[in-house]
């Protein structure tokens, strides 16, 4: 794993086009899925997907191979989303990333069924589908990083640029939100 990360770092230093092609192929699904969960919008996720890889090309020399490549990749993608949202609404980064705020990182168009809903509506357990949609993106994001991408908590702290304690607290709140949403769904 460490060797592979080092090899990626060396390739990115050289801006090796073949390596970038391979990485795009290899991580396309995971990156796109993450962006869909974070943005809640498939078209926007597609734009961010392309922009993320452009940044990987431009800033590849900053990746030193000491951490997992995907953690670095998700961090780039995440910050692009936050930068975009910040330029859209003149708010501070803290406000956008503060889980106590009313709608942190909620970019989905509320008037349309979200891609998350479209995806999950194929499932039979409607109660759980509805519950996942009710969770704020900031919590959904940590659930995705932990339980889909299977990142370690310290790796997540790197991606989110927050302390370990914050990651844990978001994870607990995310699970709590999930549980709360499930209860709400069951009640309705």
């Amino acid at each position: 794993m460490a060797d592979e990360a080092k090899s990626i770092a060396r390739g990115l230093q050289r801006r090796d086009p073949d390596l970038l092609d391979r990485l795009i192929e290899q991580y396309q699904y995971r990156l796109f899925r993450y962006l869909v969960y974070v943005t809640g919008n498939k078209e926007r996720a597609e734009d961010f997907f392309q922009e993320t890889w452009i940044r990987v090309l431009e800033r590849g020399h900053q990746y030193d191979g000491r951490s997992k490549f995907e953690a670095w990749l998700f961090a780039i993608a995440r910050h692009l989303v936050i930068d975009w949202q910040r330029s859209k609404k003149p708010q501070s980064l803290d406000t956008l990333t503060d889980p106590e705020q009313e709608h942190p990182l909620q970019l989905a168009n509320e008037s349309e069924p979200s891609p998350l809903h479209q995806v999950l509506s194929q499932e039979t357990e409607e109660n759980v589908q509805a519950s996942l949609q009710k969770i704020p993106a900031i919590y959904r994001e940590v659930l995705v990083l932990r339980f889909q991408e299977e990142l370690q908590i310290d790796e997540m702290a790197g991606v989110l640029s927050v302390p370990l304690s914050t990651v844990k607290s978001r994870l607990y709140r995310g699970l709590e939100a999930l549980r709360g949403a499930l209860q709400g769904g069951a009640a309705s």
Binding site: Q28, P115, Q148, R179
Partner: protein, 162 residues
């Protein structure tokens, strides 16, 4: 069964999935779940939702990878074309500095001689010399600052995220 036991069980259910729990807590939780239907159902709900998140598939847009690869290659080409210009700029500045250092004494005398010939106050020709000497540095500083402004904020978080 007390409310405290339920709260502890719910906390442990979450903790077990987030960061793991010690064996003693795990045994306690197992024993509690065997007796408590309410908490068992909560645990099942949580697991089911997490399982769905893990297994949910999101269809990839057609040609997303190839379109991205194309854009990335175009950008790489742009960067490669820009590289010699940047190298030439650094080289020019380096040569200019080296020449400036080597000729500083002679230029100082030239400024001094010119100052004496024209009657310009000493401070003025000294400032003139200082300006002449710092122009390449200032030029380079402006170029570097412009680059920094363009990429500065993102570089910070990219380094932090490592």
């Amino acid at each position: 069964m007390s409310e405290n036991n339920h709260n502890r069980a719910l906390q442990l259910i979450a903790q077990a999935r987030v960061e793991g729990i010690p064996e003693a807590d795990s045994s306690w939780l197992r024993a509690h779940l065997e007796e408590c239907e309410f908490c068992t159902e909560r645990a099942h709900h949580t697991d089911r939702a997490l399982r769905m998140m893990r297994t949910a598939t999101i269809p990839l847009p057609a040609g997303l990878a190839s379109r991205t690869q194309f854009r990335v290659r175009l950008r790489a080409q742009e960067l490669r074309e820009r590289e010699p210009k940047r190298r030439a700029l650094w080289l020019a500045c380096a040569v200019s500095w080296a020449f400036g250092i080597a000729s500083a004494l002679y230029v100082w005398r030239l400024f001094q001689w010119f100052g004496e010939r024209t009657g310009v106050p000493k401070l003025v020709w000294e400032l003139g010399f200082g300006l002449w000497w710092t122009v390449p540095a200032l030029f380079l500083l402006v170029v570097v600052l412009m680059e920094k402004v363009r990429h500065g904020s993102e570089s910070d978080w990219m380094r932090q995220s490592r």
